[in-house]
Amino acid sequence: MNNLVEFIKKYFHYLLFIILQITSIILIYNNINYPRFVIAKISKTITTPFNSGWNNLTRHLNLNKENEYLMQQNIKLMRETKNNFIFQQDSLFTVDSINDRSKKIRLYDYTYANVIYNTTNKKHNYLILDKGSNDGITIDMAVLSAQGVVGVVNDVSTNFCTVMSLLHPDTRISAKVMPINQIGTVIWEENNPEYAYLNDIPQHLKVNVGDSVFTSGFSNVFPENILIGIVKEKNSNPKNSFLSIKIKLATKFNNINRVYLVTNLYKQELDSLKSNLKNE
């Protein structure tokens, strides 16, 4: 103990020197930006590999939530596109009517769902989604994926709904082939989930391989200008006057996980008008 006291007495000034030196270094670090920047840079180069490794490990844990947010954001953006609205304009076309936004009527609204059952290799293919009448799903709502058209809701229970996929022989989707803007019908005929056929295009029209096929918007189920597929082959059919066009579907039906559901807000009104047409 005595030795220790002696030792401290003897070397006290060195201790003091070190303490004061550390004090000044701390002063430098706390008050002048550049040394702090340099030290922060050095410590960053040391810690960054660890941090990024940990981030790589943990970021997958939140993917589900992230996906949910992305879907919500997508719906928000999809709601804003022009094909969801009817623009009513005065017959008298004035500057005011261009700027007047109040005459925009919303026709389509969106929601999303997860696919919990999906077939692609059968004769009649269906999907089952995890949303039902509790979530406002009704029959004849359109189902889209991020890539394009998927199908139409054909049955609804309280918590689930079944979707008649485009890969179903009874599905008819009103389509138009661009850029000639000619209306036809998309039908799935063969047992291949990648291809479908576009009918009702007259033979005299010029359709090229690689042209895009979109929904026409006349069915009151699908909004206008949703991609269905791309023209793959065209053959002239000698029996009738229509082209037989094979299209490669945009949607990859084998791996659909999340889909968007589209509801037509004026469906009943439009349908009753249509039924009046039939009755006459």
Binding site: F12, L16, F17, T23, S24, I28, Y34, V38
Partner: protein, 170 residues
Amino acid sequence: MNKAIVNIIRFIILIAMQVFICNNIDFFGFINPYIYILALLLLPLEIPKSAQYLIAFATGFIIDMFSLTFGMHASASLLVMLARPYIVNLLNGRHTTEGIEKPIPGVKDFNWLLAYTLILVFIHHFTFTLLEVFNFHEFFRTLGISLLNAIFTTLIILCIEYIFIPVKKR
């Protein structure tokens, strides 16, 4: 007159000169003389080392506060104080004179004073410049600048010493 009072007055005058005059000197953009080191150099060697360190730190800190370089002058001054007895021993060689050392003209000859001042001032300037630059990328530039600076400061310090300290025997 009491020795302590002389020392205190010397500190005050040199710090004031440093702050108000020499901090504004900026030759060629990089030469700033730090004449307050003279006060540290003239501090009697026989006072306790702890006191020497505290004085050096306080002096450096005051200069820091005026020139907004928190801690840099304090650190450099501390190093000067640490090195000072070793430099004195080195310069005295084997002829270590027991008793009171006075690093002033008259007691020591010009060469001794020149070496003593130049080495300690260079230690100070080198530490200070290194802390200011804070990297080793341009080490030789740092070295060159601090050497030039040290020569300049030494010149001024020697002038002050020979002008103001009364030489008893020449």
